[in-house]
Symmetry: C2
Subunit: 112 residues, 2 copies
DNA sequence: AGGTGTTACGTCTGCCGTAACTATC
DNA sequence: GATAGTTACGGCAGACGTAACACCT
């Protein structure tokens, strides 16, 4: 109960919410129901103990806390992407090495 | 099935693993079983499609991919912390404002 | 009526602990 | 035998979808 059940999905959700300006748009952007967006944001706000998003008549707006959080949130997503890319690059490299090794040992078996 | 079931816990886990140098130490550091650490790292590696940690006789060591990922992982944790701190500060401020407002309206009711 | 977000409720996924197993010293 | 990691299995929390709700235009 103590530690963050904050998840990447909640961060993603917050960013999508701000970028699209509405719960339903954010929902279809991420590919979940708008109920999930509502749930997720509620969880995040409860977890942090602050309201992040002001639900207004014309769309939404960030609270002061929300504004502070958003920058960090974006950076988190960027880093997550960087991790995926680094991994993808490494995995690609690995398969090259493997392929080369196979070719090499085949020639060896044939006798140089 | 497509999107990241990468979680903050896995990131935290990877960092703890590198910092402590062993699965069991990382486990007690985070407060989970060493099985959970094994599970979590396995999930992360599967998800990314790369081996991150080389399990050796004397402790562990990072692969090249692992080294690249680690920096981003640390930054992610820093940002997560920053988010929590920003939220905590905002929440503290909010309760101050509330307390002041209560005091103020009490004096009003008393008449000036 | 048509759009918004919230909420109640049920389902189902997937995380993690226990414990048994393998391996290394 | 002890220490370190993996794996099979099962339970349980919690995330999310459906649907009914309230609100605003």
């Amino acid at each position: 109960m103590n530690l963050s059940h904050i998840g990447f999905s909640q961060i993603e959700l917050l960013v999508a919410l701000v970028d699209t300006g509405s719960f339903s748009q954010a929902a279809s952007d991420i590919g979940v129901s708008q109920s999930a967006v509502s749930h997720g944001l509620a969880r995040l706000e409860t977890e942090l103990g602050v309201t992040l998003v002001e639900r207004g008549r014309r769309g939404i707006s960030l609270t002061e806390a929300g504004r502070e959080v958003l920058g960090h949130a974006r950076e988190v997503l960027r880093r997550l992407d960087a991790i995926r890319q680094a991994a993808a690059a490494a995995s690609l490299l690995a398969s090259f090495v493997l392929a080369l090794r196979r070719l090499f040992s085949r020639s060896l078996r044939r006798g140089s």
